[in-house]
Symmetry: C2
Subunit: 269 residues, 2 copies
């Protein structure tokens, strides 16, 4: 325990809270760490909360009671969200992204940690009310996005594997048909990855017909967990009728023209 | 632009810097945002830096010149690193983690975002001097760890794929032999994922014989990039002679005894 200046304590508190968004810290924890009274720390929290709100950076949520404490909830203003999605749409519309077969190269964006942190926080903002226990995705390209969403929620990530992997013990598998290639594939989930009865939010990078998301929902049913929502970074406008009824897409891909090299992609929020 | 109290500005600055570790922010950027003089902001940075250092949370690095600015470098004390690795070793030694075949179930730890943020920052601390341009891993289980390492470095992630995937354009492939199963497998890297001449840090969750890491190094050679280092969360003590000469392991797995259910795993730092 050490005595410190208020401003330095507030910097340290801000760092610790921001580092683990959604994580509940007890005031006793900070009281031990800084040798400060809980009443003093409460005042610090008010200051931090006001500053976060003033700049639209998030807020602090206080949970009262014995198991209570304080946690940082990241936030982005409508305008900040819109700017980010417009910027992303602009990047994704670059003609050199078109790959043989009318696919769009998105990997550089999907594997950019700083961008995915922000997208994860947008999913937290839009879908936080669903109160999931796990974030679920299927390997591979959606993993960074799903992981950063899990971070924004302070929840564990569950990754559905393609095929059966030997190193994770007993698994439940289903066959599903991908909407794009119309091939039958297998996806599986290790039994011990998730507790029966849990609520799951499915996050993926891309949805066309929705076959993969549908597969995850069916697989979740097989292991006794409930899918409370689905969020994707990009959904195609066509087919309008997808295999998943309720989903949130941040961007809608209206058209990829392989001949004129025009890509029409727009924010959906 | 708005006039704000110093303490609120410092909270907001701390949040923005901590949110993107390794990212260089110009003082002009903050000057526009807060309507404060650069000299004022410089004083704020001194306060933030002192607070971070006082509590062993990291530091601010100042880069001078026209392209200069300030960035947050996360840090953990030797003791904090040791405590985290001891805690991890304790979790990984739980007997119920043993899977048929002598494998260790690690997925719940590998897919825990808050834990992986910390491990990523340890890799940044231990391997930052290698100054890579990219973090590279192979799908699937090492991705969260590699992504959080990329976040700590503020670098893009490159994911080597197993087999050939259609949606990422032309790719370079090699065959490699996994040390554990002795099977020949294929791994591939999309041509456009990485620039020739770049320096790459390989990050993975587990190393036994080192066949997978060796494969990534060979594949990197094929696409004209240099592997400057390899970091793994867990390496087995045996075989002592691995296919990769130089690597950093955070934990060493000495023994998994399927009969007595004893797991011997220890921090390596």
């Amino acid at each position: 325990m050490m005595k410190v200046r208020r401003i330095e304590r507030i910097v340290a508190l801000t760092k610790m809270l921001v580092d683990m968004p959604g994580r509940l810290f007890s005031l006793s924890h900070f009281s031990n760490l800084f040798g400060a009274a809980k009443s003093t720390l409460s005042e610090d929290m008010v200051t931090i909360k006001e500053a976060m709100q003033q700049f639209g950076l998030g807020t602090l949520e206080t949970v009262s009671g014995a198991a209570g404490g304080v946690r940082f909830i990241p936030h982005r203003s409508d305008q900040a969200v819109n700017n980010l999605l417009l910027e992303l749409a602009g990047k994704l519309a670059e003609p050199e992204r078109i790959i043989q077969g009318g696919f769009l190269y998105m990997t550089d964006i999907l594997f950019n940690p700083a961008l995915m942190v922000q997208i994860g926080e947008i999913f937290r903002r839009q879908l936080g009310h669903l109160a999931p226990d796990y974030i679920m995705t299927v390997e591979t390209k959606g993993i960074p996005l799903a992981l950063m969403t899990a971070r924004a929620f302070d929840l564990p990530l569950v990754i559905v594997r393609q095929g059966n992997k030997v190193t994770e013990g007993p698994a439940v598998s289903i066959n599903y048909v991908t909407g794009s290639s119309k091939r039958i594939q297998t996806m599986s989930l290790p039994r011990r990855a998730i507790q029966a009865g849990a609520k799951v939010l499915v996050i993926d990078d891309f949805m066309k017909a929705g076959g993969t998301a549908r597969g995850m929902i069916d697989l979740a049913g097989e292991v006794g967990v409930e899918v409370v929502g689905t969020g994707v970074l990009v959904a195609t406008a066509e087919p309008a009728q997808k295999l998943v009824q309720d989903y949130l897409a941040l961007l809608i891909l209206h058209d990829v023209d392989q001949y004129s090299k025009k890509i029409d992609i727009r924010p959906a929020l």
